[in-house]
């Protein structure tokens, strides 16, 4: 059994330790004896929708985002959509999250078209406005599980009716700093502003993505649990640094 992992724009969208998400997925599969096939796909290269079951897109600065956006729509868009509709898992973080939506309206210049896997759009309210920066803790909408991370974004994201948030903000800003929502989910497509990076301190989400990816190819799969002592300790410390310790 192999986890077929596709890292999009590894050298372009790699802010904020995004590589740590790949490291985490790979290690957590290998610790359970699951093989990992990692393919890195760069600018100009199309996606084979059958070849990968879990796609990851990290964040970038405005310049890198402008390079990636047209490539994601025109070169990779059809393949990525086909894979997602067939049940492949997708994770976009920060800039990658914004690109999964309908469009990104920057502080200046024309709108950047997104790939439209998630029903949302993002608006940068202007060069003088405050970036949303700091430690963040959210509660997952469905199971009440906690996610910890760090956010740093100028854009404000607003969800449409076809996407639901990953969770609600306990401490921090989230999608837009107004409505208390954070992230977006549609089928097995996840987008979030949480880096830190996201997966090492939230191993349950890493395991959920691995499970979704394996199910697409192998049917029902149950992962054996891992001890996760260091993971839980680091998540506790991160929650305490956010000022959210002891909150429900």
């Amino acid at each position: 059994m192999d986890l077929r992992l596709c890292h999009l724009y590894p050298d372009l969208l790699n802010l904020y330790g995004d590589r740590g998400n790949i490291t985490t997925l790979r290690q957590r599969a290998q610790w359970r004896g699951i093989g990992v096939r990692l393919v890195e796909v760069r600018l100009g290269e199309p996606i084979d929708p059958q070849a990968h079951d879990l796609f990851f897109i990290g964040g970038g600065e405005d310049r890198q985002q402008r390079l990636a956006a047209p490539d994601l729509c025109r070169v990779k868009g059809a393949g990525l959509r086909e894979a997602a509709e067939a049940g492949a898992a997708v994770l976009g973080v920060c800039g990658g999250y914004q690109l999964l939506g309908q469009y990104y309206r920057p502080a200046d210049g024309p709108d950047l078209e997104g790939v439209g896997l998630l029903d949302l759009h993002t608006v940068h309210p202007g060069p003088g406005t405050r970036r949303l920066i700091g430690n963040i803790v959210i509660r997952e909408a469905s199971g009440g599980v906690r996610l910890v991370g760090f956010e740093n974004h100028g854009g404000r994201t607003y969800l449409g009716p076809k996407a639901r948030p990953i969770g609600t903000v306990v401490a921090g800003f989230g999608n837009n700093g107004e409505d208390g929502s954070e992230g977006a989910v549609w089928r097995a497509v996840y987008g979030t502003y949480l880096h830190g990076p996201l997966l090492p301190k939230n191993p349950w989400l890493a395991d959920r993505l691995i499970t979704l990816a394996l199910r697409r190819r192998y049917g029902e799969v149950t992962l054996e649990p891992l001890p996760d002592v260091e993971e839980q300790y680091a998540a506790e410390v991160a929650a305490a640094r956010s000022g959210a310790a002891g909150r429900p």
């Binding site: 790699n14 920066i133 760090f150 880096h195 990076p197 260091e230 506790e236």
Partner: protein, 463 residues
């Protein structure tokens, strides 16, 4: 008259701050002086007979300023420094007022200021420097500085305020810095490394931590014939022809002697200098080359430069050696991925199975976002580090990073208290072994303060 009042008020603040044991008193006097006389930096720096040199960049500001200070010492030129990392406009103001007579005359011939990347426009505007040295631009503290392109934009703005006879000394090996240099219309001097010792991994691929792999002009990936560290090296863009400018001051024959130092030959026109320093690591070769270029701009000559570099001791926490209970402890400040990778390489070059303390804080001066730990190649330590004690406010994140790097968990200990971490790691040393301490900025201050209390090192403001 206002400036004399500012000097008096700042002096009082310095004395009070140290008397009350509030610390080094390195920025408060400057803030007070600026409040009393907002143009104090401009007024006092214009009285320096040989003008001002400003050093900026992500990594190496303190060490480069210190090396250049050592060269100026050897040349008999008295310099006014802002030491101890007080590198905002307030720190420059503090240095100027502290080292001025009560009548407002600076007690030095040249001002030598290390300046925070984001503070460069303000300081250049106020001091109108004779020389600006731009070292490198790495990803660092995104929560504080914002994106790296914004910092580069600030530098372009800053250089527009240079006086007509000002010289820009810039690193041609860093594509982002070279772009800033290329657009500068005044006199400029590029520096770079002609060669570098092999890293052991692919010599033509930028590290994971690289920030500038894509051409600033056309967005195509650069082709590297040599990567020295991070995204620095010999690069060109096959699409638009942008390439590394030919340096005016070049280091070649670089030899790294593990933790004991480095040497190189530096060539500038007909000047050929043999440089040897006790500062370890390739990044310090860059710093030395930058300092040489700055010294040449100020008219200092070869033999004096060689003496000055050889005589310069490490700045506090940056290659500093402290002996505790007969054991050598080497502090190697590591505050971002590119710097941390080079520090790890230096340690592994010096020691087959090192014992380390890694101290990670997430205070404002460190950057509150510790995601960057995942861009450091800690995988290098796998199967090599004999013991690692992790400490600091984010010790838990560091331990987690080491777990995913595949470092044997039996080799890793978490000890939240800094002094206890140092003691525990010292206890693991065998005869003749040295302890390597790799801290972020405030973690370094904290660990050093613990050693100061125990009487092993002097307070940093006394250096």
């Amino acid at each position: 008259m206002r400036e004399l009042a500012a000097i008096a008020a700042a002096r009082l603040a310095t004395a009070a701050s140290r008397g009350l044991r509030l610390g080094g008193g390195t920025t408060l006097p400057g803030r007070i002086a600026l409040a009393v006389a907002p143009r104090i930096v401009s007024t006092l720096s214009h009285r320096l007979p040989r003008g001002v040199v400003v050093v900026s960049g992500t990594n190496g500001k303190t060490t480069t300023a210190r090396l250049l200070g050592g060269i100026l010492d050897a040349a008999g030129l008295a310099a006014i420094h802002n030491r101890a990392g007080a590198n905002l406009l307030s720190g420059v103001a503090a240095a100027l007022v502290e080292q001025a007579s009560v009548t407002g005359q600076p007690r030095g011939e040249v001002g030598l200021f290390e300046v925070d990347e984001a503070s460069l426009p303000g300081v250049v505007g106020a001091t109108r420097p004779r020389v600006v040295i731009l070292l490198n631009l790495f990803r660092d503290q995104l929560d504080r500085y914002g994106e790296i392109d914004l910092v580069a934009e600030g530098w372009r703005r800053a250089l527009a305020a240079m006086p007509d006879d000002g010289t820009l000394v810039y690193n041609v090996d860093d594509p982002l810095v070279a772009d800033v240099g290329r657009e500068y219309g005044g006199r400029r001097l590029g520096f770079g490394l002609d060669d570098a010792p092999r890293r052991g991994d692919d010599h033509r691929a930028p590290e994971h931590a690289a920030d500038a792999r894509y051409c600033y002009r056309c967005g195509r990936p650069y082709e590297f014939s040599l990567v020295t560290l991070g995204h620095m090296g010999h690069y060109r863009c096959v699409a638009c022809g942008t390439r590394r400018p030919v340096p005016d001051v070049r280091a070649s024959g670089v030899l790294l002697r593990g933790a004991d130092g480095a040497s190189a030959t530096i060539t500038a026109g007909r000047d050929v200098m043999s440089i040897s320093t006790t500062l370890p690591g390739l990044y310090n070769v860059y710093d030395a080359t930058a300092a040489v270029a700055g010294a040449l701009t100020l008219g200092v000559t070869g033999a004096t430069i060689e003496r000055g570099i050889a005589a310069t001791a490490p700045a506090f926490g940056r290659g500093e050696r402290v002996t505790v209970d007969g054991r050598e402890t080497l502090f190697l400040l590591a505050k971002n991925p590119a710097g941390f990778n080079e520090v790890l390489r230096t340690v592994l070059l010096a020691d087959a199975a090192p014992v380390l303390v890694i101290a990670i804080n997430d205070l404002i001066a460190d950057g509150r976002d510790i995601s960057w730990l995942w861009d450091v190649d800690f995988e290098m330590l796998r199967g090599r580090a004999r013991a690692i004690v992790v400490t600091g406010l984010r010790a838990a994140d560091m331990a987690l990073r080491l777990k995913y790097a595949g470092v044997d968990s039996a080799a890793v200990t978490v000890e939240r208290d800094g002094a206890a971490a140092l003691e525990r790691a010292r206890g693991m040393l065998r005869d003749g072994e040295r302890l390597y301490v790799l801290p972020t900025y405030t973690a370094m201050l904290h660990l050093r303060a613990a050693l100061t209390r125990q009487g092993y090192v002097r307070g940093f403001w006394k250096q």
